[in-house]
Amino acid sequence: MISQLIFLYCALVIISTALLAVRFHNPVYSVLSVLVLFFHIAGLYLLLNAEFLAAIQIIVYAGGILILYLFVLFLVNLRQEIKSQRFVAHHRLSTVISIILGLSLLAIIPYFKLGAKGNYPVARIEQLTHTKAIGMEIYSTFILPFELAGLILLIAVIGGLVLARNDKTDPADDVSDSAAPTISEVQE
């Protein structure tokens, strides 16, 4: 009963903050409502006994990625609220498309079926601790997807390095130490 109430609360907050994130005119407020959204997703993870995921959700998404978003917002300095009401050109068309998408999502709901039970009932996770359980699964059953994800991230890192590398160094520009990193290096 109480866990259902918590779920209901988290779900409601997630939906409303997601809507707010889209509707706010001030981008900093949008980012902050996404922050609240991440908190409640972490709450959902906790409800599912996935404490490791909850902590990582906060550390990586709230502590890393969202702060980078804020960084970019501050660098382009959008202090004034953006006055234009529409960001996209074909507003009518996109409304129609999103309504169709929403309806088809609703139509899918009756076909939702619970999957087969896995090897990890709640009691086992509690005894093993969630961190260990997830680590063992990732490094045994799901090693291939894990390595693939690592490879994709490596490509992203190399891409960032290539983009950030400054080939034509103008000696007049070079006022700082040779050790000084560029801003894009910092952002990585």
């Binding site: 702060i67 961190t131 700082s176 910092v186």
Partner: protein, 322 residues
């Protein structure tokens, strides 16, 4: 009934920690004073012992100024975010065997999460005040926190590998009671990285660029006054204590000491935390401030590779020993 006891424990912890914060400012001024051949505060009470209380009363009754052009809701929320996240981090710290409010399995990750959230308070304070100094301070803090959270987390991975747990009590228990089994010795590289990253995470000298007085007036707290200013101060000092406790737990063997103290088991823990705090203050009295690009180069080009090397060596050691 249990909830009542828990609430009582929380209230006690808060009272003790806030009292420590008050007197930490006193000790800081006193220690720095003596290191610079001055007396430090002397006027209020015997050797200035009542100075923190006088300061507290003063900041409580000062006018609370909100700049007209500030973003009011965020301006008001920023110090609260800072303080609340830091106080929340206290909940998982084990002060002695069983002396912990929330003995959760992801204690170490919880601390990381809270310390990264505390930077939101600083960033929002910098942005919401709508002033150049605070904005620069907030930006600096943002880049610094992102950069130094990585070596900080990586430096503790070695500890996690050795103890096989993220639970802070279990990390202490895994180090045993002997002084030679604490993780300071096998994790000496990790400790080195942790120590530098710890100074940067708490915005202390020599990495206090977010509030560099000589360049930015007071950095992100320039526009704050009265109690809100004091809230930021409290958050910073509680942050120092939390991170000193993490250092004690992960590298110095937590509450274990040469011999057990009857009636007061956290004695050695507190002594080690005081040691850390003294070093914090000592460094502030000794070192000048880093330049910003030096700070970034140190974090990215020295500390992160060192922390990765430490993880590799720890893994190798574990495989070889087993």
């Amino acid at each position: 009934m249990q909830i009542l006891i828990l609430l009582l424990q929380i209230a006690m912890l808060l009272a003790i920690v806030l009292l420590h914060v008050a007197y930490l400012t006193y000790f800081e001024r006193k220690i720095i004073g003596h290191m610079q051949v001055r007396m430090g505060p002397m006027r209020v009470g015997w050797h200035g012992l009542l100075q923190p209380i006088a300061d507290g009363i003063k900041s409580f009754f000062k006018e609370d100024i909100i700049p007209q052009q500030a973003d009011k809701p965020l301006f008001l929320a920023a110090p609260i975010i800072c303080l609340v996240t830091m106080l929340a981090a206290l909940a998982v710290l084990p002060f002695a065997e069983g002396w912990v409010l929330a003995d959760i399995n992801i204690g170490l990750l919880f601390i990381f999460a809270m310390s990264s959230l505390a930077s939101y308070g600083i960033i929002l304070a910098g942005w919401a005040s709508n002033s150049k100094y605070t904005f620069l301070g907030g930006m600096r803090s943002m880049a610094q926190v992102i950069s130094y959270e990585i070596p900080m987390g990586l430096s503790l991975v070695g500890v996690m590998m050795l103890s096989g747990s993220l639970n802070l009590s279990e990390i202490v228990a895994a180090q045993g009671t002997s002084i030679f089994s604490i993780y300071l010795f096998p994790q000496i590289i990790g400790f080195f990285v942790f120590f530098i990253a710890m100074l940067a995470e708490t915005n202390r000298v020599p990495f206090d660029l977010p509030e560099a007085e000589t360049e930015l007036v007071s950095g992100y707290i320039t526009e704050y006054s009265g109690m809100r200013y004091a809230l930021f101060f409290m958050a910073e000092y509680i942050g120092m204590m939390v991170i000193a406790s993490i250092g004690t737990i992960c590298f110095l063997g937590g509450w274990n000491g040469p011999f057990a103290i009857p009636f007061f088991p956290p004695f050695w823990f507190i002594l080690k935390v005081y040691g850390f705090l003294f070093v914090f203050i000592w460094i502030r009295a000794t070192l000048p401030r880093y330049r910003y690009d030096q700070l970034m180069a140190l974090g990215w080009k020295l500390l992160i590779p060192l922390a990765l090397l430490n993880i590799f060596l720890t893994g190798l050691l574990k495989v070889l020993v087993r």
